[in-house]
Symmetry: C2
Subunit: 911 residues, 2 copies
C-alpha cells in the first residue's frame, strides 16, 4: 500500500539519529569494527558486502535503536521507522523487487543479532512479505505452485510461532493431521492443494490465538517482526543467559532485515553451512553440509539428511569453486577459521553469514600452528588463539571419536546441553542423591541426573562420576560444584524431561530409566545412551601442542613448576614441561597403605621415645621416595613441604569409634577390642579440635613434636646425599608450612640446621639445600620483610590464604553458602578456583613488596590450586612471581597461560 | 692480716675500670639514677646517703663487675679486689673500726642487689668479719658475752648456709638438739655457754660438709661472700625467674657491702620495716613493725612477734620522731610511698633501705588521689601511678579483709605464691583433672592443685573455680590458661609439697587432703585453709576511684563503650561510665531458657514458612529486650549485632545424639523418641561443618535465611519506635557480622532498608538508625574503602581478626600449642589477650586508613576482648579509634588505660 508508505515518510526529519545501516549494491554503511552497534551478524554481513562478496542486500537496525525502543516504553524512537522505509526502498531498488508488490514481490528475512551470540534470542523469520497476492506473484514468477504454497505455509507458521508467540505444536498438529489425511510420508510429499488448505488452517490458528486476522500488509509484518526481535532481548531465556554469563543488559540487539534468496527453487538451488577448516581436527579442508533444493531451516531441523560439502564439487562444480574461493578469501580477511552460511538460488551463490568458528581443543591447536606456518598470523597471535583450558582437555580422558560417531549413527545421541565442567563420564543414571550413594556403595559408576542440583544433593554429587542437569547455566550449583570436584558436568539440557517419581527421563521417544547406562561429555555438552569407551591421550603424540608450548616457553617469563608427591608424578610432570617441583606434600606419602599403620602407631604413642620408634620405621620410606624424586627431577629444584595436616586426619577410619564403643558397652561386648577402641577414642578426644584448619598443624606440629621434623630433615638430606653418591644432582628446598610469627621460623631454622649438621657429620658429606616457607597465613604476608631475613624462598599457599583472608572454610563452604554466593553473584567466582585479586591478591602484593624489600632476588612461587587457573596465572605474572606450581596435568595449561599473560603484559606496556 | 692486705694493694693499677662505689661520711659516689649499675638497693643507699640520712657506711660493687666476673670464667676482673680493699679502708676510716681488728673489729653485711628485685638471689650475710678474735673483742666492747656468742653462731650458720651452700637443716638440727639438751624453750633462752658450744658444733658441720675448716680470715670471708653473690645470679631459681619474666640474663647483680649496725644490743636497740603510708588502705600513716633488741632476720623469720611501729612512739620517742621525719623526707624526695628498713643501735637510728612500696589496688588509688591533694604530684602522674588492671581488682569479688586477718590469726594462712590471675576462689582441693570434673559433676566447687599444669589438665581447669600450682611463673601454662579463662590462679608456691599418690599436699606440718576446703587469692598470691567468705564490691562506694576516673575521663580522647547483652548489664555499665553499647550480641538473648526451644524449633523447621512461625514467637522477646536496653542507655548509641554463631551452636545439648541413636538401635529401643532423635541427627549432619569458625555464620546466615534478618530488624526498629512513643531517646545502630565482600553488604543494606520502610509504614512513624559493619575478616580490612561507602561505622572484631590473621582457632589453640608458644616465648603473649600489633594491628591500620579515606569522620570502634586490655587500649588510642568496647567490669579499666595512653601519647609528641 504505497499510500501508507508515503504518508509516514512525510514525518521524516533530517535531525533524527542514524538508526539504520544499509548494505546493498556491493557497498555497506557498516563494517566489521561496528560489532557493538550492528551486532556480530550485521557487522559480518557489512564486512562481506564491502569485500565484494555476493550478499543479498538488506539493512541492519542498530542496537542503539533497540535500547531507545525500551527507553521510550516500547516505542520506536523518532526517525527509526522512516529510516527503515528509506533503507527498504534502496533494497527494493537494488533487487528490482518491491515489498508486497503483486507483480514482483520482495521477500525478506528478519533476524536478531547481538554483539555476542546468545541463546534465547529471536530466531529467523523467513519469507516475510508474503500474502495471498505476493504468493500468487511468486507462483507466476517461479512457475512452481508447490514452492509458492510451501513458502507461504512456512511463513505463516514461522511468523505465528516466533513473532506472535503461538505454541509451535498448534501448527505441528495441523501439519501432522494433514499428512495423515493425505497419506503423505514427509513434508515434501504434500501436494500444492494440501499446502493451500494448510495455509488456510494456519491462518485460522493465528486468528483464534491472537483474536486478530493474520496480518496481510507486508509493512505491518515487518514492523511486528522488528518489535518481536527487540522484545526477545528481554525474553526470559536471554535474560537468564546474560545473568549467567554476566553480560550487561543494556547492550541491546540489532535487527537484520535482508532480502530473501531461495535455496528451494529446484535442483540448481540449495543451502548449507561450512567451516573453512575442519572444526574437530583443524585440518585445512572445507568442512560442512548442504542440501539441494532446501531452505536453511531444513538443514537445522534434520528432516532431510544433508550431504557433505565435498559432494557439491560434483553436483554444482562451478558454485563449489566460487564458494571455495570465497571461503579462502574470508579466512584470509578475518585471519581465522570461518563458520559460513550460504544459499544457492538457481545456480547463484549468496553468502548469508560469516563468523569465527567454534572449534575443539585439538582443532584450535592445529589451526594456530598451521596459520603461523601459512604466515596468516604470528606466534603471539597463535598463542592467544588457544584457550589454555583447552590444553587440559587434550590431556583429559575423552570419548573415542569413532565410537562417538558410531553412537550418533546408531541413534544413541540423546541431547546437547551446556559444557559445564570438562571431561568424559559414563555410568548408570540415577535421579536422586541417596540412590547415587547406594549404587556407589555397590561399586557401580553412576551419573547423577537432576532437574537442577542443590546443597542437599552434595553427597550424591561426590558419589557420582558425572553430573547431568536439565536446568541451570555455567554458574549453576551443579556446574560450580562439579568444577570444584573435578567432575564432568553437562548442565541446562532443556530437552530432558525428567520424571523423578518414575525415576526416568525422556528426550522425545527415548527413555532412560534408573540404572540405564549413559555417557556425558562435559567438554562438548553432549549426552549419549549407553557406555562410550574413553581413551587416555598421550602427551608425546601431541606434536602440535608440544610445538605451541615451546613457543609459549619462549614467550613467558613466569616459571612453571609442579605440585607432585610421588616419583611417578615427577616423571610425568617433567615430560609435560615442569621446571621444578614447587610442592611435594610429604603427608601424601604418609597415607600410602604400608605406611599409614606406622603413622597411626606414632600418633598413638604415649611419648616422644614411642613416637621416635615409629618415625624410625617411616624414615627409609620417605628417604627412598625423595631419592627417586631427585632422580626424576635431576638438576631441578624439589621444594619439599614438611608435614602439614592435623594428626587426627590420619585416624579418619576411626571417626565413629565413639558410636562403636557405646554400642559395644550397651550390648555387653567386652575385651581387648573394646580397650583398643577406648584408647583410640581417648587420643581422638585429645586431638579433637573445633576448627582443625586453624589448629595444631603445619609448623606448629613440628614445634610440638620436633622428632617429626628431625625424621623428615633426615629423609630429605639423607636422600640428597644418596643422590650425590649416585651422581644425581639433587636440589632440595625445605619448606615450612603455616609460619605466622618469627619465633616459629627462628626455632625451625635452628632445628633444621642442627639436624643437617648432624647428618652431614654422620655421612661425612655435605649437600646444599635451601630453607624457605609457605606464605599462607595473613600475618606472614604482613611480616614478610622479617620472614625474608631467614627464608630463602616464599611459596604462596593461596588455598589457605583464601580460607583465612575471606574467612571461608573450603571444606564446608561449597555445601553451605559459597555456591549460593556464586549463583546469586554475591561474589563473581568461587575464590578457590579463581584467585580473589582484591582480597588474597592484595595481601600477596603486600607480601611480595615487603619480602623483596629485604631480599630483592627472593624467589616467590605459588603452590595453591590457583597456580593452574589461567586468570590467576595472569595475576601471578602481573605481580612478578618467579613461578607457578600447578597440579600435573595443568602444567601445559600454565605454560600457555603464562605466555598469554606475558603477551598481554607487553600490550599493556605499549599503551 | 695487714701484711696480706698490703701485698695485694701493690697490684693496683690506675687504669682499672671503676668497679666499686663508696658511700661513707655523708657522701656517696652513686645516686638514684645509677640503678642499672648499682642495682636498686645500691642506688637507694647512695641516694639516702647523699640526702644526709643516717646510713651505715659501705660500698657497692657494680653489676658490670658481676658480668666481668662471668665473662672471665668466674674470676674477679683486674682491679676489682684492689678497689674493694681501698673502699674497705675508707669505710674503716669512717667507722674507726677495722675488719678483723682484734681490738675494734668492723663487721659488715653482704647483700645482692640487682636492678630489679628478684627472688632466688642471694640472701643477706650479716656479721661478716667475725672469728674467734673479733668475737672476743666484741664481747669486750659490748660487755655482753651472750650478744657476742649469739652473733658468732648466727654468722657461722648463715655463712655456711648461704655462701657455702650447706643445707640449713644441718644447723637447725644442731640448734634444736642444743635447746633440748639445755632445756631452752626459745633461741633467746640459750646461755652464752650453750651458744659457744653451738659455734664449735657449727664449725664442725662446715668442716665436714666443705672438707675445709671454717674460714677465719675476714678478707677470705668477704671474697667468698662476694663470689657467692655473683654466683647466685645464675642460680636455678634466679634464672627461672628471669626466664619467666623475660628479664635479660646479662643485667648482672651488684653486691652491697655495708658496715653492720646492731639492733640486738639491748633494749635501746631494735630493727624494723615500715611504709610511709599504709600499703593496704593507702592511709597516710606510718605502717610497719619493729622488734626491740633484735636483728633483721628475727623480723623476717617470725620467731618473735614484732610490735606495731606506732608502739615505738612510746618505747623510743626520740628515735620515732627522727624516723617519722626521715620517712616524710624520703617520701617527698621520691614523690611516692616508700618501703623502709631501719635499725636502731643503742638509740641511734640507721636507715638500711628505701624503695617504692608495693601496694594494694585500693591503696594505689587512694595514694594517687591524696598525693595530688597534697600537691606532691599532678593529676597526670596520679593517673600513671595506678595500674589499670588494679582497677578491675577493686570490682572483683574478694575475700573479706577481716576474715583474712582472722584466718591469719587462727593459723590458717598456708603459703604465698605468685599472683598469677586475679580474683578470690574457694573450693575443695583436688589433685587431678579427672577428679575435678567428677566433683564439679556433683555440684561442688573445686580448686585444682597441681605441681604444674599441662594441656592434659585442661578439662580439669575448666571444671575448677581456681588453680593452684607449686611450680611455674606468670607465663606458665596454669597462669596463661587461668587468665584466659578468667579463673583466679596462684602459681609457683614453692612451699607446697604435693603428693599426688596420697592425694594431699603439705606445707610444714599443715596437711591438705583431697576434698579439704581451701581459699586462694589470685590478687595477692595467698593461700588459706578453709573457706573464706567473699564480698562483692560496690562501685558507688569507691569514691576515690570514681574521682580518679573522672580525671581520666577529662584526659582521655578515646571513647569507652561496653559490650552488653542485657538491660541489667546496660544499667551496670552506665554506672561504671560506659558512653554507649559497642556490642549487643543478639544470640545471647537467644540462649535464655524460655527462648532456646523456640530457636531450636526454627532450626528444625523444614522451610522458610516453618522458620517464620518460630521467629514470630521470638520477635516479642527481642523487641522487649531492646526497648529495655534503649531505656537504660537513653540518649546513647546501642550497637546491635545481628545473629553471628553457626546454628548448630543452639543444638549443643544434642552433641552425642548419634551415640544415643546407635545404642537405642543396638538395644532394640524404638518409637517416637528414636524418630525425633534421628531427625535431629539428620539436621545436625546437614549443619555439620569441619571448621564452623569459617563457615555458615554471621551475615552469611542472614543471606541464606533472610527471614532471621527480617525478624531482628523488626525487633530493633520496632523497639526504637516503642521507645520514641515512651519519650525515650533510642539510638540503634545495626551492625552486620562477618562481612568480607561488597556483594554481602549491598544485599544486606537493601534488605535492612526494605524491612525498615515496611515497619515505618506499618507503625506510621520513622526513627533514625545507623547501618554499619564488623571488621573481623582480613578481606574487610583490605576493602575498607569500598565498605565505607555503605557502612556508616566500623567495629573491629579483634577476636575473629586474630583467629584469621594468625590462623589460630581460639577454642582449640590454648589446649594444643598456644600455651606452649607463650611458655617458650615463640610469641610474646597470648594474642587473644594482648593485641598482636605487628599482625592484627597492622591490618587494623590498613582498614582505618582506607575506611577514613572514603569517609573521613568514620566512627571506628573495637568490640573484641582486647578492648579491655590496657596495652591494647593504648594501641587503639595510638591508631585513632573512636572508642573501645570492653566487657562490663573492664569499663573503668579502659577509662584509666585510655587516659594513660593519652598522657603517653602527649609525651611522645613532646619528644
Amino acid at each position: 500500500m504505497p499510500a501508507r508508505r508515503r504518508a509516514t515518510r512525510k514525518k521524516t526529519t533530517a535531525k533524527a539519529k542514524k538508526w539504520v545501516y544499509l548494505f546493498a549494491g556491493g557497498k555497506a554503511e557498516g563494517s566489521a569494527k561496528m560489532r557493538s552497534l550492528l551486532g556480530g551478524k550485521g557487522a559480518g554481513i557489512a564486512e562481506m558486502t564491502n569485500a565484494g562478496l555476493p550478499v543479498p542486500p538488506g539493512f541492519t537496525i542498530t542496537t542503539e535503536a533497540c535500547n531507545a525502543y525500551f527507553a521510550s516504553g516500547k516505542r520506536f524512537p523518532p526517525g527509526l521507522w522512516e529510516q527503515v522505509e528509506q533503507a527498504l526502498a534502496r533494497v527494493e531498488k537494488s533487487t528490482g523487487k518491491k515489498l508486497g508488490d503483486p507483480r514482483n514481490p520482495l521477500l525478506v528475512s528478519v533476524r536478531s543479532g547481538a554483539a555476542m551470540s546468545m541463546p534465547g534470542m529471536m530466531d529467523t523469520v523467513l519469507n516475510l512479505g508474503l500474502n495471498d497476492e505476493s504468493r500468487a506473484a511468486l507462483e507466476k514468477l517461479t512457475k512452481n505452485p508447490r514452492f509458492a504454497w510451501d513458502a507461504y505455509r512456512r511463513f505463516v507458521s514461522m511468523f505465528g510461532r516466533i513473532v506472535q508467540d503461538i505454541p509451535a505444536e498448534k501448527f505441528d498438529h495441523a501439519l501432522e493431521a494433514k499428512k495423515k489425511a493425505t497419506g503423505a510420508k514427509s513434508d515434501t510429499d504434500l501436494t500444492p492443494k494440501a499446502l493451500q488448505e494448510l495455509v488456510a488452517e494456519f491462518k485460522e490458528i493465528v486468528r483464534r490465538e491472537t483474536k486478530q486476522p493474520f496480518p496481510t500488509e507486508p509493512l505491518d509484518q515487518l514492523r511486528l517482526a522488528i518489535e518481536a526481535v527487540f522484545g526477545s532481548w528481554f525474553g526470559r531465556r536471554a535474560v537468564d543467559y546474560r545473568n549467567a554469563f554476566k553480560i550487561a543488559h543494556d547492550l541491546g540487539t540489532a535487527v537484520n532485515v535482508q532480502s530473501m534468496v531461495f535455496g528451494n527453487m529446484g535442483d540448481d538451488s540449495g543451502t548449507g553451512v561450512a567451516f573453512t577448516r575442519n572444526p574437530n581436527t583443524g585440518a585445512r579442508e572445507l568442512y560442512g553440509e548442504y542440501l539441494v533444493n532446501a531452505q536453511g531451516e531444513d538443514v537445522v531441523a534434520g528432516i532431510r539428511t544433508p550431504s557433505k560439502i565435498a559432494q557439491m564439487k560434483d553436483e554444482l562444480p562451478k558454485v563449489y569453486t566460487q564458494f571455495e574461493k570465497i571461503a579462502q578469501r574470508l579466512e584470509k580477511h578475518y585471519r581465522d577459521v570461518q563458520d559460513l552460511e550460504f544459499t544457492i538460488e538457481r545456480g547463484k551463490l549468496f553468502m548469508l553469514q560469516t563468523r569465527s568458528a567454534k572449534r575443539t581443543a585439538r582443532a584450535a591447536v592445529k589451526v594456530a600452528i598451521d596459520m603461523v606456518r601459512e604466515k596468516l598470523i604470528n606466534r603471539d597471535e597463535a598463542l592467544l588463539r588457544v584457550d589454555p583450558m583447552h590444553v587440559e582437555q587434550l590431556l583429559l580422558p575423552r570419548f573415542d571419536e569413532v565410537e562417538v560417531e558410531n553412537a550418533r549413527k546408531a541413534g544413541r545421541f540423546l541431547a546437547k546441553g551446556l559444557n559445564a565442567s570438562p571431561g568424559a563420564a559414563t555410568g548408570r543414571a540415577v535421579f536422586d542423591a541417596d540412590r547415587a550413594v547406594e549404587l556407589k556403595g555397590s561399586k557401580q559408576l553412576v551419573v547423577l541426573v537432576r532437574p537442577e542440583t542443590s546443597p542437599d544433593d552434595f553427597h550424591g554429587m561426590i558419589a557420582a562420576t558425572g553430573i547431568l542437569t536439565a536446568r541451570g547455566g555455567s554458574t549453576s550449583h551443579a556446574a560450580v560444584v562439579a568444577r570444584g570436584l573435578g567432575l564432568p558436568c553437562v548442565a541446562g539440557v532443556a530437552a530432558l524431561d525428567i520424571d523423578l517419581a518414575k525415576r526416568q527421563m525422556r528426550v522425545g521417544d527415548k527413555v532412560v530409566r534408573e540404572g540405564d547406562a549413559i555417557s556425558i561429555d562435559g567438554t562438548t555438552g553432549e549426552v549419549f545412551l549407553g557406555e562410550l569407551p574413553t581413551i587416555q591421550p598421550n602427551f608425546r603424540e601431541e606434536k602440535e601442542l608440544i610445538e605451541l608450548l615451546v613457543w609459549a616457553d619462549q614467550r613467558r617469563t613466569l616459571g612453571v613448576w609442579v605440585n607432585a608427591d610421588t616419583p611417578e608424578e615427577c616423571r610425568l610432570a617433567r615430560e609435560l614441561g615442569a621446571e621444578g617441583v614447587g610442592l611435594a606434600r610429604t603427608e601424601h606419602m604418609f597415607r600410602q597403605a604400608e605406611r599409614l599403620p606406622i603413622v597411626q602407631d606414632m600418633i598413638m604413642a604415649d611419648d616422644a621415645p614411642g613416637r621416635k620408634i615409629a618415625l624410625a620405621k617411616l624414615l627409609p620410606f620417605q628417604q627412598g621416595d625423595f631419592l627417586q624424586m631427585y632422580e626424576a627431577m635431576n638438576g631441578l629444584s624439589v621444594v619439599i613441604r614438611l608435614i602439614d595436616p592435623p594428626l587426627h586426619e590420619f585416624l579418619r577410619e576411626y571417626a565413629d569409634v565413639d558410636v562403636d564403643i557405646a554400642v559395644m558397652r550397651a550390648t555387653g561386648t567386652d575385651g581387648a577390642e573394646l580397650e583398643r577402641k577406648e584408647k583410640i577414642e581417648r587420643r581422638l578426644q585429645q586431638l579433637h579440635e573445633d576448627n582443625p584448619m586453624l589448629g595444631l598443624r603445619g609448623c606448629r606440629l613440628l614445634l610440638v613434636y620436633p622428632e617429626i621434623l628431625e625424621m623428615q630433615i633426615r629423609a630429605i638430606l639423607g636422600a640428597a646425599i644418596d643422590a650425590a653418591e649416585k651422581g644425581i644432582k639433587a636440589k632440595p628446598e625445605i619448606m615450612m608450612p603455616l609460619v605466622g610469627v618469627m619465633g616459629e621460623l627462628d626455632r625451625l631454622q635452628q632445628q633444621v640446621v642442627a639436624v643437617a649438621e648432624a647428618i652431614f657429620k654422620e655421612r661425612g658429606r655435605k649437600v646444599p639445600y635451601k630453607f624457605g616457607t609457605m606464605i599462607e597465613i595473613p600475618r606472614a604476608c604482613l611480616i614478610a620483610d622479617e620472614i625474608a631475613t631467614k627464608a630463602e624462598f616464599f611459596s604462596f599457599g593461596t588455598n589457605d590464604l583464601t580460607q583465612t583472608i575471606l574467612g571461608i572454610s573450603r571444606d564446608d563452604a561449597q555445601k553451605s553458602f559459597l555456591t549460593k554466593y556464586v549463583e546469586q553473584k554475591i561474589i563473581p567466582a568461587d575464590p578457590f578456583q579463581v584467585l580473589d585479586r582484591d582480597g588474597v591478591g592484595a595481601m600477596m602484593r603486600i607480601a611480595i613488596e615487603r619480602g623483596r624489600k629485604t631480599r630483592p632476588d627472593l624467589k616467590i612461587g605459588i603452590c595453591g590450586e590457583h597456580g593452574g587457573d589461567p586468570s590467576s596465572i595472569a595475576f601471578c605474572h602481573e605481580v612478578g612471581l618467579t613461578y607457578v606450581s600447578p597440579s600435573t596435568y595443568r602444567v601445559p595449561v600454565a605454560r600457555l597461560a603464562a605466555a598469554q599473560a606475558a603477551i598481554a603484559g607487553a600490550g599493556e606496556k605499549d599503551r
